[in-house]
């Protein structure tokens, strides 16, 4: 929204305030740059101290100066892919339910509930994971421990849901009513309309939902640290989900508190942070461009 043009009778105060507000607007750019700068500043020494072949290795064993990032990266990948595999169908279905099927009173209950899910602290979800979900996983899978990739995946899926639901809802909402009317005029049922017309038309938005869901899941820290078991080993093989796994986020959170500032281990943890930053940066950039292309300004809800 643009203010209509006003005669430029600008006194110093108007000018001063406007500059302050512009500065506040620009501050976000400054903060992103600062984050990047400090990750680089604290991370780059690692590349001098640790040979690249070591960083690219398959073992993470900082006590012996072995800093292979592969198990951590794959660990993050495993739980993220698993989580999105669960939360995408569930989230899109819920968005369909809210947008197309549910009566008003149900919608009035559902929408704030989903907002509440987004607000539950991840440490509380992790706590419930330890107390309730992990024993269940152990019982059903027969694995020796309930703290496995599967446990982390299930909880992550739940935490990614609010993001996926709200963006999928936006996407469904932005499909023009006329598409639906046209389908009904051809005597399609409501479900045929949804399946053959609305969902395909909303696909770019749903792709955005997936991307931001991935960004959210890959960056989630406390929950996976508490329930995924934290074994830094390559998550390969068919039973990878039933074994403990360690993500990049959990590694930083678990180890940063105990390393000496300025040590090699410390620098490498910042490299892990840098990798996380760059991955989420690219995901968000891609998501932003799909949103900008659809002409939806600031992307409103998807930030919240």
């Amino acid at each position: 929204v643009r203010t209509p043009t006003i005669p430029k009778d600008v006194n110093w105060r108007e000018f001063f305030v406007e500059q302050l507000i512009r500065l506040a607007g620009a501050s976000s750019i400054g903060f992103v740059l600062l984050i990047f700068l400090f990750l680089i500043k604290e991370g780059t020494p690692a590349f001098l101290e640790v040979p690249l072949s070591n960083l690219l290795g398959q073992r993470w064993y900082p006590t012996f100066d072995i800093y292979g990032l592969a198990p951590l990266v794959l660990g993050s990948l495993l739980v993220t892919v698993g989580a999105i595999g669960i939360s995408l169908p569930l989230g899109v279905a819920t968005a369909l339910f809210i947008g197309e099927i549910a009566p008003d009173w149900v919608r009035e209950i559902l929408k704030p509930s989903i907002e509440i899910i987004a607000g539950i602290p991840s440490v509380v979800i992790g706590f419930v994971g330890i107390q309730v979900v992990s024993p269940l996983v152990r019982e059903f899978s027969g694995a020796p421990t309930g703290l496995t990739a599967l446990t982390g995946t299930l909880l992550l899926a739940y935490m990614a849901l609010p993001t996926i639901i709200s963006i999928a809802e936006d996407a469904l909402d932005s499909v023009p009513e006329s598409y639906r009317h046209a389908a009904y005029a051809l005597s399609a049922t409501q479900w045929q309309t949804i399946w053959r017309v609305v969902l395909p038309a909303a696909r770019p938005g749903i792709v955005t939902a997936v991307m931001l869901g991935v960004g959210r899941a890959i960056g989630e820290t406390m929950t996976v640290m508490m329930v995924a078991g934290n074994a830094a080993r390559m998550p390969l093989g068919l039973d990878a989900f039933l074994r403990p796994v360690r993500t990049m986020t959990a590694t930083i959170a678990a180890e940063m508190g105990e390393v000496a500032r300025g040590s090699t281990h410390y620098h490498v943890l910042f490299v892990v942070g840098l990798v996380l930053f760059l991955v989420t940066f690219m995901i968000n950039l891609a998501a932003a461009f799909t949103i900008f292309r659809r002409g939806r300004g600031g992307g409103g809800r998807f930030l919240a």
Binding site: G91, T94, V128, A253, R261, L269, F277, L285, A304
Partner: protein, 283 residues
């Protein structure tokens, strides 16, 4: 009428409804379970006393106070920048590369993992600016993390104010800033408050950004100044549920309950403000 088409619809809608229900049921169960298990630990002493005997007895008072301080600090950090940026985007910015860069920056701030905010806060505030692990460092870190939510909700709230308000302001000779300060901002205030509270709710429950910037494992006293470390509820729950052997389960659930109540109260407050003003507003 082909009835099989309708039976397909019935099946599909059944599945969709089941999916939606399966999203809400865990929420209800989690809240009910934590309340049921935690209520036994709940009494005034639990809220208002120091942890004792290696946190296995006593209460959560210092963690609760710490979280309140951090929430206030987060608000002080993120409000001026966040509301300012929201006002800029809604009322001043034109559609040019500068504005688009700001929007991209906000989107990326929103996507930075919380633990990376922790690293950033450690590098900039704790070490480089020599704040040490302190309430200032933690608040600034949480404040920057909360910015995107506050900016986007402020912008939305301002955009929702009808254009005619601005036209009338201009026709009466008001400048942009006069219009913003005396007309637009007051009208958008409830919306902004709702967004701010939801943003702070998120910050209050965060653990990863405070791990290396402020949170103390065990500190059985209140912080003396903003350059002091402090305990905080989310980190306290993490500590007692994973790091302390032989921790009575009742205290763990009690702490989870206090944190949930803290966060859900803010959520409820935001919802109430939204409901109340939506009914009252004239446009």
């Amino acid at each position: 009428v082909n009835s099989s088409r309708y039976s397909a619809q019935k099946v599909a809608f059944g599945a969709i409804s089941a999916a939606a229900i399966s999203v809400v049921i865990p929420l209800v169960l989690v809240i009910a379970y934590i309340v049921a298990q935690g209520i036994g630990a709940m009494n005034w002493e639990f809220i208002s006393s120091m942890p004792r005997n290696g946190m296995r007895e006593g209460g959560v008072f210092p963690a609760l106070v710490g979280t309140v301080w951090l929430t206030i600090g987060t608000a002080l950090t993120s409000l001026p920048f966040g509301v300012g940026a929201g006002v800029y985007l809604a009322e001043y910015a034109s559609d040019n590369w500068f504005t688009r860069t700001i929007r991209l920056a906000i989107i990326n701030l929103a996507g930075v993992p919380s633990v990376v905010y922790g690293l950033f806060g450690l590098g900039l505030f704790v070490i480089f600016l020599r704040f040490g692990m302190s309430i200032v460092a933690g608040s600034l870190t949480l404040g920057i993390m909360t910015l995107p939510v506050i900016i986007s909700t402020t912008e939305q709230a301002l955009n929702a104010v009808p254009q005619s308000f601005r036209v009338v302001n201009a026709s009466l000779g008001g400048t942009t800033w006069q219009g913003v300060r005396k007309v637009i901002l007051p009208q958008a205030l409830p919306g902004i408050m709702t967004g701010v509270i939801l943003g702070l709710e998120r910050a209050a429950g965060e653990t990863a950004p405070i791990l290396f910037t402020v949170a103390a494992f065990f500190l059985p006293r209140l912080p003396h100044s903003i350059f002091d470390q402090t305990m905080a509820l989310p980190y306290h729950l993490f500590v007692i549920s994973t790091q302390v052997p032989g921790m009575p389960i009742k205290i763990q659930y009690g702490t989870a309950l206090v944190l949930m109540v803290f966060v859900l109260t803010m959520n409820l407050l935001a919802t109430l403000i939204r409901r109340y003003y939506r009914r009252r507003r004239q446009w």
